[in-house]
């Protein structure tokens, strides 16, 4: 039975897997994007893990109805978790840069999206409400204000679980307090391949900041991408969280720019080799797994930004970071991809997308 708590718009389920904004026009060089997540629970209801399905549906009805009336969201629509195929859930994970899976999502759980492709509300997963906003303009303050406007729009109908001692109460106490997690995604191939990232971490030690790869692993930077987020949500205020993040991001950006300038002036052989190999791999491979694809796309992006590779725009290469992942690849090719064909289809897709690229690296 379909989820009774959600206003049903079946046609809009398919909108999810064709949604490409804001990733289809991202021209950012180093600071690719940021996500802000706000965790909230509703007073007098048990948290979702202990809540029965009927009460979950009651919450869905209450929250979705209110969200639909909030100004500032662009045609919001809700989809029940049980209405989504695993492939569609994967698409959401990839699109909204979520590395905590929700493949297990069931009846009583739902997602609210809007036409901007930047807003997502996860309902009744770990917490009753998780509001997420994806920003590609480097405007952390503006994104935060947008999320708070949505939260304040919910306030008349939802009394949030809050205590003076712990702030906003969340199922995981480690994110109580502000309930705010801000993550910036930085592309740092120069620092990583010149082996300068570790020195940078040591020099710029900041206990308020956590750095991991995009999959949450602190030792593996897939696609030379770093996810930089606030280490604390409790014991700090929102302004300090955003301020600390902004200051850390700026330091990373300056260090990466500095490293790239050095590569450019010294024509560092190891980087020239990486960029050339990446171009070869993308243009001639017949099998590419996601990790290898992301790392070659990263090297090619660096080559373009150093002026060594032409024929592909930064916008197009940024889009490839998404479209090479399984659910997005499937959506781009408009076909369901079997597991055994995935690497083959990805290589074929990337060969086509990078065929116009040419390298002109000085020897």
């Amino acid at each position: 039975m379909a989820n009774e708590g959600v206003r049903k718009k079946p046609a809009e389920t398919s909108k999810i897997i064709t949604q490409l904004s804001p990733w289809n026009s991202n021209q950012n060089i180093i600071w690719l994007a940021s996500t802000l997540a706000l965790h909230r629970n509703i007073e007098k209801f048990k948290f979702p893990q202990k809540l029965d399905t009927e009460r979950k549906k009651h919450i869905l009805s209450l929250v979705t109805k209110t969200l639909f009336d909030i100004k500032g969201l662009d045609h919001p629509f809700a989809v029940g978790a049980e209405e989504l195929a695993p492939f569609e859930k994967n698409f959401l994970l990839e699109h909204f840069l979520i590395f905590e899976g929700f493949q297990e999502a069931r009846t009583g759980e739902a997602f609210v999206l809007d036409d901007s492709g930047q807003f997502l509300a996860l309902l009744n997963l770990k917490d009753h409400i998780q509001l997420r906003y994806t920003d590609v303009s480097g405007d952390l303050e503006g994104s935060w204000a947008k999320l708070v406007a949505v939260e304040n729009g919910l306030a008349p109908t939802c009394n949030f679980a809050f205590s003076q001692k712990f702030g906003f109460l969340t199922a995981d106490p480690a994110i109580s307090g502000t309930g705010l997690i801000v993550t910036a995604y930085l592309h740092l191939p120069a620092l990583i391949h010149l082996n300068e990232l570790q020195d940078f971490f040591e020099k710029e030690k900041n206990e308020a900041i956590l750095c991991t790869g995009i999959q949450g692993n602190p030792d593996e930077f897939i696609g030379d991408m770093l996810a930089v987020r606030n280490a604390y949500t409790i014991g700090v205020n929102e302004e300090s969280i955003i301020g600390a993040l902004r200051s850390a991001i700026l330091k990373f950006v300056i260090a990466e720019k500095h490293a790239r300038n050095r590569i450019k002036s010294e024509m560092t052989p190891i980087i020239k080799d990486k960029v050339s190999r990446a171009l070869g791999t993308l243009q001639f491979s017949y099998q590419l797994d996601t990790v290898e694809a992301l790392s070659t796309i990263s090297a090619l992006k660096l080559g373009i930004e150093l002026g060594w590779v032409t024929g592909v725009s930064v916008e197009e290469i940024n889009r490839l970071f998404f479209t090479c992942r399984k659910a997005h690849l499937s959506s781009s090719l408009k076909e369901k991809i079997a597991n055994e064909d995935e690497a083959l289809k990805r290589a074929e897709y990337l060969r086509e997308k990078t065929k116009a690229a040419t390298a002109s690296i000085q020897r």
């Binding site: 303050e141 712990f166 106490p173 109580s176 604390y232």
Partner: protein, 176 residues
């Protein structure tokens, strides 16, 4: 060669149950198998293995485990890092939650020495607007400019100056 087959985890980095640093290596021999588990000192599973069911036993004069009246979550579940079940859990397990936050280094360090009765939360309360002082952005840029000039990196300094100029002009225009 020993007739026992030994099963060892690859590395003892964190408690298999609570994900805290390992203090005890618990070895259990069942038939011909040797199991070794790395566990933290106050792991409820370790207590259960050594002293039987923790729910029924008071250990070392301590009271038996607490249970939240709102959702049935137990103190052992909280110690093992399970999610809390309801708002009431924060009152029932207040000390335990603070202790767990400190152990996991999830409480800003300046708060670690705060008095027990003082609020840990320093952010906004429900209904407050979400305004961030626009000067924050400028402050970060000025700090970075200062650092960059200190390193005599004039190229980056010029880039930062452009950013500061653009932001200052944007602020002026918004203020009109």
């Amino acid at each position: 060669m020993s007739e026992y087959m030994e099963q060892l985890p690859e590395r003892h980095l964190e408690c298999g149950e609570c994900k805290k640093p390992i203090v005890v290596v618990y070895t259990e021999i069942v038939g011909k198998m040797i199991y070794r588990l790395g566990m933290c000192a106050d792991c409820p599973i370790l207590r259960q293995k050594l002293h039987g069911d923790a729910r029924l036993t008071a250990i070392g004069g301590q009271a038996a485990e607490l249970v939240c009246g709102g959702c049935g979550t137990t103190s052992d579940e909280v110690k093992m890092g399970s999610l809390l079940g309801c708002s009431l859990c924060y009152e029932v397990f207040e000390d335990l939650v603070i202790q767990e936050l400190q152990t996991a280094n999830r409480l800003a360090q300046k708060m670690s020495a705060v008095k027990k009765v003082a609020p840990l939360h320093m952010g906004r309360i429900p209904g407050q607007p979400g305004e961030v002082n626009p000067a924050l952005k400028l402050a970060a840029l000025h700090q970075a400019l200062h650092d960059t000039l200190g390193r005599e990196d004039y190229e980056e300094a010029a880039w930062l100056r452009d950013q500061i100029k653009a932001l200052t002009e944007e602020k002026k225009n918004n203020g009109k």
